[in-house]
Symmetry: C2
Subunit: 250 residues, 2 copies
């Protein structure tokens, strides 16, 4: 489903603009989202829809397996957050084009290790949330809420790479969206340290899992079949919180 | 400092392109970053530099006080993460223009409450990290690392709004980048609940603080005077981690 198409019908009427370098630059961002029309001897815009005003950006059905495969491979390029956001959005860069194509996904590399190594939100969940937000806007928050709840309650990783870069034995349920908690529990179970090929591949596969889950829910949302499952954490706990209170307060 | 300027000198030679709707759309993202040249009766590009290939995006000195003021006001529009990223990037949308101008900052709303209410990374720190990454690329990670260390060790909020929307008595040192820990400690000290005007204004002022700190370090980085201070969390702890181990393991 391409939501932008419908929205463009409501845009402003055609407008003749003079092509100067300054105006071209100023308007380029608006052109980026499409719906521009060139005419002979001049330059007119049937409608101008900027990457900003068309937000959230158009959705086309994402190949879920492709999302997972991209995420797995891209973990080895720039880690978990970049891996996951690129797993969901690279298929849209290819199928939709702009504005996705101009978004530098490397900008989300910083989310690795729970944001530059501080062990907070798992970078896969951050990457998934960023992607869901660009595609679904505020609705993306419901999707991310469900993805985080699913991640916390599921034995991961599930994804099996066709050509694994390392192998390991264990999966684990984190009971938490925190990188530190999630990876520490798994490392203890597997009996390996953080800077090992096994741990790296575990996180690469987790990136694939979250990209695939996010893509699946985004596809359902676009098809009109998505129903949010998980309730509000802040309302439930009367403050922002995870659910594993005993992990720190027990 | 505008880094893009130097980069543009190395771009490809002028290229004549036919203006069709399809090509215009395909090229629009590239135009967005600028360096385009229009000629009479045609359309040529002196150089094409996409928002993607010019990443990280150009920096111009950010008015630190303006960053804080925007962040404070914008908290009341879309909460902490949006507030902070917009505090840093709206000044650049105004002074630099594209590609910043086309980035829909509302896409980062989801970071509120430690990402959709899960209490993980404080949304102000997420917003600051996103902004630092667009402006400084991988160098932005060092800045974010320092901002997070500073946040955890500093009595906050510091920012004083000209027209406060609520007043309160206490500041606090979180000893953690987690929303849940940071806000819970402050709420206990102040004696208020989460859904109160006082707590909201505390988080709005915190957004201003983090936007101002991030803008200050980005300005220093662009001026060549920034020196990273804080070391690697993952290397120090042999895994991603905060520093307040006793908070959960004590």
């Amino acid at each position: 489903m391409i939501r932008m198409t419908r929205r463009c019908h409501n845009e402003q009427s055609p407008e003749k603009i003079e092509l100067t370098r300054r105006k071209l630059l100023a308007g380029a961002g608006k052109l980026a989202a499409g719906a521009a029309l060139a005419t002979a001897g001049g330059f007119s815009l049937a409608s101008m829809a900027s990457a900003k005003s068309t937000y959230p950006w158009p959705h086309k059905k994402i190949d879920v397996q492709e999302a997972g495969n991209i995420a797995y491979e891209n973990w080895y390029k720039d880690y978990c957050c970049y891996a996951t956001v690129s797993g969901v959005l690279i298929p849209l860069q290819k199928s939709v084009g702009e504005p996705y194509a101009s978004l530098p996904l490397e900008a989300f590399r910083f989310g690795h290790g729970g944001t530059v190594g501080w062990g907070t939100l798992c970078g896969t969940l951050l990457g998934g949330a960023i992607a869901a937000s660009f595609v679904a806007g505020k609705e993306g928050e419901k999707i991310s809420n469900d993805v985080i709840a699913w991640y916390s309650a599921t034995e991961l990783p599930i994804y099996k790479p066709a050509n694994p870069k390392a192998t390991f034995k264990h999966v684990n349920k984190s009971d938490s969206p925190l990188c530190h908690v999630s990876v520490s529990k798994w490392m203890e179970k597997e009996g390996v340290e953080f800077f090992t090929p096994q741990r790296k591949d575990r996180c690469a596969r987790l990136s694939a899992d979250v990209a695939m889950k996010t893509a699946t829910l985004l596809n359902a949302w676009a098809a009109g079949t998505y129903k949010p499952v998980h309730g509000s954490q802040a309302k439930t706990h009367n403050r922002p919180s995870q659910n594993n209170c005993d992990g720190c307060h027990g």
